[in-house]
């Protein structure tokens, strides 16, 4: 059965969704944007700006909608037709820099070392006394540390005239201040990167120290005796003269002949046999090698 005629009739009822463009448009569908680099008709822009812009934009929007409808469409209940957008292509700058990974705190380091894993605790806990589920901590919580007790029994070994309530309050204050001190210490360490240093030290140990550093430390230790290490028994296999040679200067008034020879030697090194200061061939070769 040939339905092409009927199809044609049906199609002609509706307006076309095709648009002809000289240069095809670029799309960034993650941003629902299209970029048209075709040339605009300048005279039309000047004379009938708004109408021309409207028709031109209509064409661009039509192409963009065509592109969007080619993406995977799903029909969601109560919502309608939903189209899945791809990732954004244009590089738009962020408003804040990428977050830096926080260095682990002292406890976290210790836990990692020992292999202690965090157990996720439930928020509610069954309180035997009350017979119902109460929060583990916080308002009306089960871990109330006795600071709000109305009745505190005096323990046997305690002074009977001691105020137990103040004792509890002081203990709580001390716990809070200790926690604060730890928090501050963690913050300081995070700032100065000390945890990094400590981690590296524990990881590498003696290997982290370079050989020269070790030698330096050895030489310093050797000379830190009362007699500056002069009368120490030398160890087998250890290089005795680790220090460098002191620079020696010739006396100002000496053998004139020797002085003349020394100076002429220097001059001969600078100026070669042909009498030129710069050996051009060598200079070019060296330049080539360096670059």
């Amino acid at each position: 059965m040939d339905v092409s005629a009927q199809l044609e009739a049906q199609k002609s009822k509706f307006k076309s969704i095709n648009v002809e463009k000289q240069v095809s448009l670029q799309f960034d569908l993650g941003l629902l944007a299209s970029f048209d680099t075709n040339a605009l008709e300048e005279n039309k822009l000047k004379t009938e700006t708004d109408n021309y812009l409207k028709s031109y934009t209509r064409d661009g929007t039509q192409l963009l909608i065509n592109e969007i409808f080619q993406l995977p469409l799903t029909s969601v209940q109560d919502v309608g037709v939903v189209v899945e957008l791809p990732k954004i292509v244009t590089a738009i700058p962020r408003e804040k820099p990428l977050p830096k990974p926080k260095p682990p705190t002292r406890w976290e380091r210790f836990a990692k070392l020992k292999g202690i894993k965090k157990n996720k605790k439930s928020k509610l806990i069954y309180d035997e006394e009350k017979g119902e589920w109460v929060p583990r901590w916080g308002y009306k919580g089960a871990n109330d540390d006795g600071s709000n007790e109305w009745l505190v029994p005096v323990p046997d070994n305690a002074d009977p005239f001691e105020d137990q309530f103040t004792k509890l309050r002081e203990a709580k204050k001390e716990r809070i201040s200790k926690n604060e001190a730890r928090r501050r210490r963690n913050m300081d360490e995070a700032e100065t990167g000390e945890t990094q240093k400590l981690e590296n030290k524990s990881k590498a140990g003696a290997k982290a120290l370079k050989k020269t550093e070790l030698h330096q430390q050895i030489s310093v230790a050797k000379t830190s005796t009362a007699s500056l290490g002069k009368f120490d028994k030398p160890i087998k296999g250890e290089p005795s003269n680790t220090k460098g040679v002191k620079r020696k200067f010739e006396p100002n008034i000496g053998d004139i002949q020797k002085e003349k020879e020394a100076r002429l030697n220097i001059l001969n090194k600078i100026i070669d046999k042909k009498g030129e200061v710069l050996n051009v061939r060598k200079a070019i070769a060296k330049n080539h090698q360096e670059n």
């Binding site: 629902l32 970029f35 605009l40 812009l53 934009t57 189209v83 962020r94 820099p97």
Partner: protein
Amino acid sequence: TLVYVNVLNIEIILSELKNNDNVKNNVRKPKNARTKRILKKREPKVEENVKTAIFVRGSTTSQVVNDALSDLCRLRRTNSINFTKKNNIHPFDDDTSLNFYCSKNDASLFVIGSHSKKRPHNLVFGRMFDGQLLDMIEVGIEKAITMSEIKSQKCSVGMKPLFIFNGDLFETSQVHKTFKNMMLDFFRGQNLESINISGLEYVISITATGSIVDSDSTASSTSDGKIFFRVYTIQMTKSGQKAPRIELEEMGPSYDFKLRRTKFAKEEVYKIATKVPKTLKPKKVKNIDVNEIGDKVGHIHVGRQDLGKLQTRKMKGLKRMTEDDQTEDWSRKKRKS
């Protein structure tokens, strides 16, 4: 000597202030859960929040500028703060007050409107990065029609717009490229993975004309260049095919902009600002590539083969024989027959 001592004293005072725990590193410990949540919202994240924009009025403004600021604020309904009072702010001269406003409101986009004889009906669009100014583009409004002047049905609040950028200047001129980037940043709304078709309600069309006189200068580079900013609502009608037929109706504010001054950050700052974290980069599957034509190509790595030990089909007729063998065979055959 007196000056030296004073400087020393200031250093000591500053260091003591820094050691004050409550104001350490400009971070105050939050006193309750609500402030803790606010601070957490403002800290840097891998996937960022929607950018907040502030709309500020300069020391003198005109009616056109006021209307433009309020219209743009309405276009960007959520996450935009409209400053109603006038502020003495000159972004191109001094950006300390600007940094202050943006950091206090946790905003990274701003529009400053002003009016003067030298620069009539002036708007400055700008962005911040890491509390510092990233880039600014100043435009002058030459012709403006507000949203209320155009009698038509407006779109719903907070919808994501479609963008159309017309003109090849947006690919060739550095200023226009940045302007395009800024407009996309300004009006894009939330980052969505999927969108409802009925939510595609309006389109912002930005058209650039004019010739580039000197594309490298920071001053206005186009001699008679204009940027047309138009907003239309989309009407979708049946087309007999999958995609609908689009008709537009002008809705929102309509402006004719003229580019004035610009101020951009250095290339390195842009690099840091557009850095994509490793977690958000698309994962590369090994041995599968997409070539230039668009075909998916896979690589199979076969180990080395010893061609001498290959098992092939044997064709006895093609076997190489010596003369003796041949004669022997023939003689045998002869004897048989």
